[in-house]
């Protein structure tokens, strides 16, 4: 364990004023979901290439730096590589290279490449969404989508409120976790040991205070809310109202059209 927890990414949102940034968050959230599902429905390379081109277009239009591609893929890089290897080695077909009992086949490479590329696009689609849309406006969008469910008893407003509370307390608790790590290290707790028993002993004085602190924060917050007469979501007005304009509808239309084109690519492109 080295360095500070706080040096880790505190957020992926890149403030900006591009067309992608300004589109209504509800439309972006819906498009992002449709894109992710579309990736699993798309049948072959032509369709997948169109999906990739569409995403690249958004990446450029959103003014995102190129290093975000690497940053978006890094957490699952091992998994992506593993997927590719399993496919490349396990599918039967015409062998290209044979090493011992393993042989890499043309079919394997094709299939492995396809699945790997699809995974990469899936992860990058999230990067585009979260880098161009602030978590707060996405929470507003989420609440809007949940609102119809309020009729069947799903408390949409309160769900959104809990998400907002979670977003608000992540930096606070992260700082406290960091303080606790330092405090324990100063007392000689060594968390870089490879002995599971010693590690478990080191984790205890870190996790117990962190949980107790969290309960205390929750208690304080509840008292603060109750003393300000919090009484639920009914009849509350909002500081920010979501309003979709012509530009948003056009954006959604373009995205939907492109998605339709990609999904039907197999039909008119041939086998």
């Amino acid at each position: 364990m080295s360095g500070s927890l706080l040096t880790l990414a505190m957020g992926q949102y890149v403030p900006g004023d591009s067309a992608v940034h300004r589109v209504d968050p509800r439309f972006k959230l819906a498009t992002s979901f449709a894109y992710a599902i579309g990736l699993f429905l798309v049948g072959g390379w032509p369709g997948l290439s169109l999906m990739a081109i569409g995403l690249a277009g958004l990446f450029v239009a959103g003014g995102l730096p190129a290093r975000y591609v690497g940053r978006g893929l890094r957490p699952l890089l091992v998994l992506i590589a593993f997927t590719f290897l399993v496919q490349a080695l396990s599918l039967p077909g015409k062998a290209l290279v044979t090493v011992g009992p393993f042989s890499i086949t043309r079919e394997g490479l094709d299939q492995g490449g396809f699945l790997t590329f699809r995974l990469a696009l899936l992860l990058l689609s999230s990067v585009v969404l979260t880098a161009t849309t602030s978590p707060v406006s996405l929470t507003d969008a989420l609440e809007w989508f949940l609102r119809p469910l309020a009729r069947v008893g799903v408390p949409a407003y309160e769900i959104a409120l809990m998400v907002t509370i979670a977003l608000r307390y992540i930096p606070t608790l992260l700082r406290e976790a960091d303080d606790l790590l330092r405090a324990q290290r100063a007392r000689g707790v060594d968390l870089s040991v490879r002995n599971p028993w010693r590690l478990a002993q080191g984790v205890m004085p870190l996790v117990v205070p962190l949980f107790v602190l969290s309960f205390r924060h929750a208690d304080d917050l509840a008292v603060a809310m109750a003393s300000r007469c919090y009484h639920g979501g009914r009849g509350r007005t909002r500081y920010r109202e979501l309003r979709a304009g012509l530009r948003d509808v056009v954006g959604l239309g373009v995205a939907a059209g492109w998605l339709g084109l990609a999904l039907s690519a197999g039909r008119w492109w041939g086998p």
């Binding site: 990414a9 957020g11 992926q12 979901f33 992710a36 890094r74 957490p75 699952l76 998994l79 593993f82 997927t83 399993v86 496919q87 699945l115 899936l122 992860l123 990058l124 689609s125 999230s126 990067v127 979260t130 849309t133 978590p135 969008a141 989420l142 309160e158 769900i159 409120l161 809990m162 998400v163 907002t164 979670a166 977003l167 608000r168 307390y169 992540i170 606070t172 608790l173 992260l174 968390l191 490879r194 599971p196 590690l199 080191g202 984790v203 205890m204 870190l206 996790v207 117990v208 949980f211 107790v212 969290s214 309960f215 929750a218 208690d219 917050l221 509840a222 809310m225 109750a226 919090y230």
Partner: protein, 209 residues
């Protein structure tokens, strides 16, 4: 739930209200997120506190608030807080190869929460009848079974999901998504039992429960 101690300046009315539940679920979701960030080096894969956070939060919050907290955690990740392991976020991650583990967390929190509820009720009953040791043993047993079942549920949803999304087949998914974590997950299940009891005691002594 609220065993407010006499003389503490805590309000039991707030402790059990809807506002208190809202605040608690929100803050605990943030805590699970923070746990996902802390990773300690252990062979063969890094030991993250993510699953541990899920189990302990579930065990402390009970079978109702536990799953809600984990659902809030997932939604916060969905809207772009970089809270999933590795600082990732967004719908692509939820629908991606490791999304099944995240969904499994909700089930794990439910099971662990249920075990926690039983353990707390049972231990209190035995304590009132003056059989402290028996209550302790029964609580540890319930929590241990809960922690193991909860870990199983995470894999039960996570591994087939991984196989499906990556198209790698169940056998490869087990190799990549379960076998390397078995050692650290056994440690985590045992640690979770100890931690739930330790935090519970600390909360009671500070009048927070």
């Amino acid at each position: 739930m609220a065993e407010g101690m006499v003389g503490q300046a805590e309000s039991p009315a707030i402790g059990r209200s809807r506002v208190a539940s809202l605040a608690l679920c929100g803050v605990m979701a943030a805590l699970v997120a923070v746990c996902a960030w802390v990773s300690l080096p252990l062979y063969p894969v890094p030991f993250t506190l993510q699953t541990l956070g899920v189990l302990v939060a579930g065990g402390l919050l009970g079978r109702k608030l536990g799953p809600i907290t984990l659902a809030v955690y997932i939604l916060a990740g969905l809207v772009g807080a970089p809270i999933f392991a590795g600082g990732h976020s967004g719908p692509g991650v939820l629908l991606g190869p490791t999304g099944g583990y995240l969904v499994g967390f909700v089930g794990a929190a439910f099971i662990m929460g249920w075990a926690g509820d039983i353990a707390r009720r049972g231990a209190r009953g035995q304590r009132l009848r003056g059989r402290r040791a028996r209550g302790k043993a029964s609580a540890v047993l319930h929590l241990a079974v809960g922690a193991l079942l909860a870990s199983v549920v995470i894999y039960l949803i996570g591994v087939p999901w991984l196989a499906l999304v990556t198209g790698m087949g169940l056998k490869a998914a087990l190799t990549a998504g379960m076998v390397p974590y078995l050692l650290s997950d056994t440690i985590k299940a045992a640690l979770a039992v100890v931690l739930v009891r330790a935090v519970d005691r600390a909360l009671v002594s500070q009048g927070l429960r």
